[in-house]
Amino acid sequence: MSPTGIEIYKFLPRTNCGECGVPTCLAFAMSLAGGRAELSSCPYVSEETKLKLEEASAPPVRTVSIGTGIYSFKIGGETVMHRHEKRFEHQSGIALLLSDNLTETEQNTKLTAFNSFQYKRVGAILKPDMLALRADSGSSEKYLKLVKLAAEKCQASLMLICANTTVLDESLKICAERKPLLYAATAENSNEMAELAKKYNCPLVAKAKNLTDLAELTIKLQSLGIKDIVLDSSPASFKQTLADNIAIRRAAILKKFRPLGFPVINFPCLITSDHMKESLFASILTAKYAGILVLSDFRGETLFPLLVARMNLYTDPQRPLATTEGIYEINNPDANSPVMLTCNFSLTYFIVAGEMETSRVPCYLLIKDTEGLSVMTAWAAGKFGADTIGKFVKNSGIAGKVNHRKLIIPGYASMESGGLEEELSGWEIMVGPREAAHIPAYLKQFKP
């Protein structure tokens, strides 16, 4: 939440000397609040004030970066309680728990599987983010081996779950440049943990048994110079996890309570051994403020839905994703290839184009601008009717690309077929299936 002009004004010298280029300090404050000026234009603000102002303009939930490279991710930076108020900024990171008690073969299998979990969907790659490496065996040798193996085999972000600071230090010698998340500083070990986090410049989880203690702990860690903190309130049930996450988010956003102004880590893996329930609960926590979710296992059938749900909840509600209007060539079409029509809602485009690709039938896809609305929504909003579609098809230039005059429209737009035959004289309008999943079968029997 950026401070208002009035809030900034309080920090300025209030001498109205004009050296910043505007006549008064208030005017300068207003420009700053509006992002039209730089603080450095006023020669009279002290270093201390600068820091204070920076702090005041930081988001109520600190943004924490984890990892490096293609698997790095950011959490926090949130400014609202509900996505419709603006948007959720950084989607929850999804981590896989790996114990050093597993045999090396098991570890290898899981790491290989981790790398294979990548899904292409609506133009994005959906993948999990992190490996949570946990020292359970009590043997430093085993733990270091696991860290080494994981760092070698996977580019995933890492989290080191290890209570022994000596072993943790050793592990960091292996993987510090990957900027792993350290787990965890507690009231008992905060000094040593803070030292390690500073030495290797890594983010650090603060863990306490309730929110009061947690707030105290982060104050201590901050006084030790730690800025990148992730919160663990150690809830013992689903119910408590939800309650804690809400309390933390509210404290940060509604009360600007800085000690809890950090992203949160949750461990559904510790609360249930039922894999399906774990994923379900994780889906709720993506909506309810989890910064990181640690899961006990990844399986396609539960991970894929979770990744999709996460993407959905973190899309920007103020910006429907749209595709550019035009002719799209799929599977190298020629003059005899079928022509299909749809709207420019990205979701629709990717689903339909994906099915057309799957069919392996060369074809053209006409995308009409519907301002990012889906077929039926656009139709109901008057943006996908015979008149506008007719005009678009005529101007698109598709007539010059194919020898036939057959246009396949979405099954849900069947009511426009009569009107379209009138608008597009010479064209035969074919009503395609309703669901895109039936497009491959439809195209296979289609004769232009």
Binding site: H82, R250, L280, E301, P305, V308
Partner: protein, 313 residues
């Protein structure tokens, strides 16, 4: 000093509405806080799951969705009984698939006969869901109202385009109405006002804000439900203080990802479990937004969501 959760100010509550009548009637609503925010308000009862059946054997349900019901899917009466007897369904939702003018186009009389038979066969509340075709639903739902005067049905979807005739008839026979609007808080409110003006009692309305599954626009449904709930609870908007129903089963099972065989895409995992997860997860997300009734298809996804609710409350 001990940390205390910052509270938000709730000034309203959700109406309590009873579905059906007799000993198996089910009450929904009554919340005084956001869903499962039990640290600061009341949720006198958990949201309810209604089990979905069709009036004609489904042509487009994946085999995994049909399996739990065996031959019962060929007869709506046996299907409804199976749901109640085997799967302990507390509410049945009968989808009137056969009346779709773009499909079988069965007459209102035929549809009403089936509804009557199902209503006779089970004693749990019965939701009857049309095809959202205004002319046809008007005909069909009016006929059904008339033929089941002794059974308090829940009839939907009643939309701005067809509410007058359907609601008038439903009111005459004391059925409950599902007020359906396309994911828009203002349209939802507008329809509730229209129904109120027509004389529909406030305790006979359930809201359907329209939903879609994960991957197919659930975020729109999520946010509109959340907004409706916030307006009802924190701005005391009486016209939005109704329980919410989400007909989510069919949306989940029609997705492509609920059907892709594992052999084709091994990275998507077991097909049956994946489909169950898509249904259960869509339901879970709508639950945390504010759903009071979820219409669901598979006994296993119902079980999962039931257990999830138990853990949250």
């Amino acid at each position: 000093m001990a940390f205390e959760t910052p509270k938000i100010n709730y000034s309203g509550s959700i109406r309590e509405i009873t579905l059906g009548d007799g000993p198996k009637s089910v009450t929904v609503g009554g919340e005084t806080a956001l869903p499962f925010y039990l640290f600061e308000g009341d949720m006198p009862r958990k949201p309810k799951i209604a089990m979905e059946i069709q009036d004609t054997p489904p042509l487009d349900w994946p085999a995994d969705a049909l399996k739990p019901f065996g031959d019962a899917v060929n007869n709506p009466v046996s299907w409804a009984k199976k749901c109640v007897d085997t799967y302990e369904a507390k509410i049945i939702c009968l989808q009137l698939e056969s009346t779709d003018p773009n499909g079988l186009d069965r007459s209102a009389e035929e549809a009403a006969k089936i509804v009557r038979e199902v209503a006779n066969a089970v004693d749990v509340p019965l939701i009857v869901w049309g095809t959202a075709n205004h002319e046809k639903d008007t005909e069909v739902l009016r006929k059904i109202s008339e033929i089941c005067p002794d059974k308090k049905l829940i009839l939907g979807p009643v939309e701005e385009g067809d509410y007058k005739k359907i609601a008038a008839q439903a009111m005459a026979y004391k059925h409950t109405i599902i007020a359906s609007s396309p994911i828009d808080i203002n349209l939802a409110k507008q329809l509730n006002i229209l129904l109120g003006n027509l004389g529909v009692p406030a305790n006979e309305i359930i809201m359907d804000p329209t939903v879609s599954s994960i991957g197919y626009g659930i975020e729109y449904a999520y946010s509109v439900i959340e907004r409706i709930r916030l307006a009802a609870l924190t701005q005391q908007d009486e016209r939005l203080q109704y329980p919410i129903i989400c007909n989510i089963g069919r949306e989940a099972w029609k997705t492509k990802e609920a059907k892709i065989p594992e052999t084709e895409s091994p990275e998507l995992g077991n097909t049956e479990k994946r489909a169950i997860m898509i249904e259960a997860m869509s339901a879970a997300i709508l639950l945390i937004a504010g759903a009071d009734i979820l219409v669901m298809r598979h006994p296993e996804s119902m079980r999962l969501v039931g257990e999830l609710m138990a853990e949250l409350g």
